[in-house]
Symmetry: C2
Subunit: 351 residues, 2 copies
């Protein structure tokens, strides 16, 4: 299905309004999801709308609640999401971090009683869009092994950062601490294919090339072994332990678990105001020079570009804004379900 | 050679005094290096003393200079190391971050005109020792490839964090963004062995199992590919771009390059005051519960322990404090050279 960014955002916002959200919160949630699709990250865009609608209906997500500041200091804020939409809470928290960073140079907002927040990169980019360096992270129900464990110890715990880059688009990295996304393992299972031995451990905790038991059995392998595991625990510290949110197995699975109770995800957002530390413009000139240097560095034969994180996404974004977004079949199926749940007409969406 | 921690620290401090440092700065540098050996990280402990002494003699490190606050705000500090010993500058900067975090909840100190700072983990642990979460990172001369590059794009850019853990020892991760340390590749070269295809790229930028050209030719592979590369650029942002330090190829190699000019390494330190955000004790109880949960999680058959980051180092530390430190031969050789350079007697060191 081929759609425009605006139509996709509009449809998503209307669906959220149908589920009981205010127009403003619906627009916030819709922008996060549509922007993620524009970046070509279809696993974390409007494909998730259906799941959020289900949870809003079941009550684990509360349409009428709003995030509040549960505590604050000069350079920190503690946000209680009140189980409202994770994207609404996360935008609220990053805005608090940006506001305080402008006063203090750096600020940290931790979040409790949130839910799955879509793509971590969106919130980091919110900061970069306003000229600040942004970091964004969240915990999740365990699905990733630790060295020596049988089964998941940490969530796939996404972490993202964005850096304003002057004449270039913002540097933007959004990664999980697992070697690969669970969706890639599941796709191999669906196709009956083997997987590399670095992706998954089986029920015995040992590396396996057989995805047929996933996700019921086994766990994803941490990226770079103890390094990915270690970063997962840093994220757990800033997003979970220090916010009062659920930690590891205390976090619910937003998609598969019973939709009635809140998931109590934690998240953390950090903003750094470069203008406070360096004369305006000097920082971005330095970023520009580094990006230019990387672009001009010697390449492997046959490679025509060394990418800076985010450039693939920005290329897709430019194309999406110019020519629209070609939604993959799994996203379309999900949106069809969302349309059924809300009584909206999906044919309005396709141009 | 078998030594006590105290004797090793004393010898190292005396060597620094001989090189012109004040007793206080010498003690700071010595503590960082001896503590690193006590953790069993012999690649980054007193083995480095010889190299620092050479650079102090050549003038690229300035024995009589001290770090200064070149700028500050509520929650940030910009430290100019004035090319004094990297460990002295880094302790100064982390102490500034801790002081400001106690006022603001979080604080960030960036550093320019520094040099190689030893093990990143030491400074993170400084914060944890005072009850704060600490992060520490630095840039370095490029030695790590990016996906598609021929040659190094970023330094091995160490990053460390530490979390106070109540009844447990502090969680402590210290990692580089490369798959493995260059020293491991070089050791395989010395032994004439092949290496795994995930460690190194050759002069053509393609993965190789042949270490015989390293380090003259080729570059280390980033840990987990684009993820390690992306984190390297985050470190470059906070430690290099935003401090005014050298960036990528603008940083000198402290060990192999001409020792006369400063290397202009950058570094960054972040401290988070958990007591500002949560009632005293609540945070550490939550950390304790998470660590207990990990210790009690199901294990792979034959594995008797799932380690939390830092536990291997703390086990070695406990043994070092009880029975002394068994220095490996390469460290002893380096200390012999340091003794020759300073006229100190190494036999005083062995008990």
């Amino acid at each position: 299905m081929h759609v425009t960014y605006d139509a996709l955002k509009q449809f998503t916002a209307e669906a959220f309004v149908h589920a009981g959200l205010s127009a403003e919160d619906a627009a916030t949630g819709a922008e996060v999801l549509a922007m993620t699709d524009a970046w070509g990250i279809y696993t974390h865009g409007t494909k998730l709308l259906r799941g959020y609608l289900r949870r809003l209906k079941a009550g684990g997500l509360r349409a009428k609640e709003r995030p509040v500041l549960a505590g604050e200091g000069l350079a920190w804020a503690l946000v209680d999401g009140n189980s409202s939409l994770g994207m609404v809470t996360s935008v609220f928290a990053m805005q608090a971090a940006i506001r305080k960073a402008r006063q203090c140079g750096i600020a940290y907002a931790s979040v409790r009683n949130s839910c799955h927040f879509g793509a971590a990169g969106y919130y980091a980019w919110l900061a970069a869009q306003e000229g600040l360096v942004g970091l964004s992270m969240a915990n999740d129900k365990p699905s990733v092994a630790a060295p020596g464990s049988r089964g998941g110890i940490t969530g796939s715990n996404p972490i993202a950062y964005a850096v304003p880059a002057g004449k270039h688009r913002a540097i933007l990295l959004d990664m999980s601490v697992a070697t690969v996304a669970g969706g890639k393992v599941y796709a191999a299972r669906t196709r009956g294919e083997k997987i590399p031995a670095t992706w998954l451990v089986g029920g015995d905790g040992k590396p396996t090339t057989d995805p047929s038991g996933y996700p019921e059995v086994g766990a994803l392998q941490p990226a770079a072994g103890h390094k990915g595991y270690g970063i997962a625990l840093l994220i757990e510290t800033l997003a979970g332990l220090l916010s009062g949110a659920g930690v590891t197995h205390g976090v619910g699975n937003w998609l598969w678990d019973d939709g009635t109770p809140p998931t109590n995800h934690g998240a953390a957002f950090i903003a750094v105001d470069t203008d406070a530390i360096m004369p305006a413009g000097k920082f971005t000139r330095r970023v520009e020079a580094m990006v230019d240097e990387i672009h001009n560095a010697p390449r492997v034969e046959g490679v025509d570009r060394i990418y800076v994180p985010g450039e693939m996404e920005w290329d897709r974004y430019d194309l999406a804004m110019k020519e629209g977004i070609q939604l993959p079949p799994d996203v379309v199926t999900s949106l069809q379900d969302a349309a059924k749940m809300t009584g909206l007409d999906l044919t309005d969406l396709a141009r």
